[in-house]
């Protein structure tokens, strides 16, 4: 039986980039800091194949200001949840799809696409989820800058007040 500390030790020995980036907040949980896409893709196969985290419960998106965060919740046979985190800038929110290795992530990855505007490369074609048909493009409701008060569900349009629009225009200039 492996415990949390032993798992961390083994991982850090293998990948020096993970040093000080893994934590055990309580029993049965391992949480990593945000990794870049390259780092994440380096670590993941090992975690999956060698460490026994071959089941994925979930992937959830977060808004990290300039970046989008993606938190993968992986589980092994002992029921330890490994929250492996990945980060991508909002300007180029590309991650690779894991739905090949973990088929249980497919819907959750679609959700990242619709709700956060992530670009999940390699995600098989399928119906979008979970936003309704006719949803205005370019609106990603779970991003912090998207304010639901400006959204009119009757017409399905997003109307931010003029000021914020101007500010945004200035920012992008």
């Amino acid at each position: 039986m492996q415990n949390e500390e032993a798992i961390i030790q083994q991982l850090v020995e293998k990948f020096s980039l993970l040093k000080d980036k893994l934590h055990v907040p309580r029993a049965k949980r391992i949480v990593s800091d945000f990794l870049t896409r390259e780092e994440f893709e380096q670590v993941l196969p090992y975690v999956r194949e060698e460490m026994g985290f071959y089941r994925a419960s979930h992937v959830l998106g977060t808004d990290e200001g300039e970046d989008l965060g993606f938190i993968y919740l992986l589980t092994n046979d002992e029921g330890i949840i490994f929250a492996l985190k990945e980060k991508a800038p909002k300007s180029n929110p590309k991650i690779s799809s894991l739905s090949g290795e973990y088929p249980s992530l497919e819907f959750h990855e679609r959700e990242l696409v619709s709700l956060f505007g992530a670009e999940v490369e390699g995600l098989p074609k399928g119906p979008p989820y979970p936003l309704p048909d006719g949803w205005p493009e370019g609106n990603y409701p779970m991003r912090k800058e998207w304010n639901q008060e400006y959204f009119d569900p009757h017409t399905m349009t997003y109307n931010p007040p003029a000021e914020t629009q101007k500010k945004e225009a200035e920012k992008s200039d």
Binding site: R29, R55, S104, P127, P130, Q148
Partner: protein, 408 residues
């Protein structure tokens, strides 16, 4: 076979489940299903965004309404997550009450499922029986929380209602009567050959697939994996309660039925244990309004399986991010595997068997056969499946239900 012989059938979209009524598109070759596409998202309401603008205590009531059937589980997961962030330890009595209510909820949910499943295979007598028995459970919940559904027992730092002696006696009486009924259902499942013939081999999901597709709850336990959060990662007082994780190796709808029926008996034992061993004392601990910054992953075992909540606080009264991974969400992925290679007549019961909170009987199905488009609804698909089996000599509606003692 050529493409020409394939028939595509969209089932749905008003196919209700927890958060997501689904639209299935199944492709048939003859009567066998060769492909299935699942489209969900009809019930997306935007709860998670709304969580980012509400206070923690308000969110409890919102999350309770993610699903009206496992409402207690969601609030338990949320409250225990927030308590972990805030470093609050709830009184032992509160923990016992949480477990007690969770198990009563499991009884009500499994009885509901048993009824719906029976309905889908044309066994309406059983449907009426289980829903009648379920009323006894709802009465207890109504007495405890004041509402039959969404009883709001949990709060951050403990529970809102105490259990007094008279209620305790009522609960004991209820479980005694219910135990007898459940044992009868167990006998029915074991000895009734028609039922076994109708359910065995339907919706197969091998152990490997169950793990690969991330199935949870009774679905994975019926595939022989003893994965139960109550044992794997005990919360509240589950760590000290003796109970068995029920598994089965049938790996089909029959197995899922057996698992749920036996789980009800375990739940009854847990309820008895809780009532006996509940210590006296407070039922709430003081919790701060502002929750310290941090993140937490909290999980509970809902009647339908593992329920995961992710909560991140930024040190204010309003959370930064709340994510709910409801158990049915996980089971949808395995659904496709269960449907492949099945007969069209088995679709209703296979979908019902993951317990996606069936409630609405209105679902339109368009059958696209070559040039014609035929419109078919869910009741007709159900009727088709009942007749299909009748023709093959399996008619569950002829099973005799004996006269039972009524306790209302």
């Amino acid at each position: 076979m050529t493409e020409y012989n394939r028939v595509v059938i969209p089932i749905g979209p008003q196919h209700p489940s927890l958060k997501e009524p689904a639209c299935f598109t199944v492709t048939l070759e003859g009567e066998k299903i060769v492909d299935a596409v699942i489209g969900i998202g009809y019930n997306h309401r935007g709860i998670e965004k709304a969580c980012e603008s509400r206070y923690y205590t308000q969110i409890i009531y919102l999350l309770e309404r993610v699903c009206g059937i496992c409402s207690h589980t969601h609030t338990t997961a949320f409250c225990q997550g927030v308590e972990e962030l805030a470093g609050v330890e709830i009184p032992r009595r509160a923990a016992f009450i949480r477990v007690l209510v969770a198990e009563i909820e499991r009884l009500h949910s499994h009885l509901l499922w048993l009824g719906v499943a029976a309905h889908e295979i044309g066994f309406d007598t059983m449907f009426m029986y289980t829903w009648r028995d379920r009323e006894a459970v709802l009465d207890i919940l109504a007495e405890l929380g004041g509402n039959r559904v969404n009883y709001s027992i949990n709060t951050i730092g403990g529970v809102r209602r105490d259990i007094d002696d008279s209620l305790k006696q009522d609960i004991l009486k209820m479980v005694d009567a219910l135990e007898e009924q459940v044992k009868y259902y167990r006998e029915l499942a074991r000895s009734e050959t028609t039922l076994a013939a109708r359910l065995a081999g339907v919706g197969k999901l091998s152990r490997e697939d169950a793990l690969k597709y991330g199935a949870v709850g009774p679905v994975i336990r019926a595939s022989g994996v003893d994965f139960d959060i109550r044992k794997v990662d005990p919360y509240a007082v589950y760590g000290e309660i003796p109970f068995k994780v029920v598994t089965d190796t049938h790996a089909d709808v029959f197995g899922r039925t057996v698992v749920r029926v036996l789980e009800m008996l375990e739940s009854i034992e847990i309820i008895r244990y809780c009532l006996e061993n509940m210590p006296d004392g407070e039922i709430t601990a003081k919790a701060p309004r502002r929750i310290p910054a941090g993140e937490v992953i909290s999980r509970t075992e809902a009647p339908r399986g593992e329920d995961i909540h992710y909560i991140r606080s930024n040190g204010t009264e309003i959370p930064d991010r709340v994510r709910v991974r409801a158990p049915s969400e996980a089971n949808w992925h395995a659904m496709k595997q269960m449907l492949l290679g099945q007969y069209l007549a088995d679709v209703p019961i296979t979908i019902a068997a993951i317990d996606p909170c069936f409630s609405c009987t209105d679902r339109a199905i368009a059958v696209n056969s070559g040039r014609e488009t035929e419109l078919m609804d869910w009741p007709r698909l159900r009727q088709y499946s009942v007749d299909w089996y009748k023709k093959r000599g399996i008619d569950v509606s002829s099973v005799k239900m004996p006269e039972r003692r009524s306790y209302f």
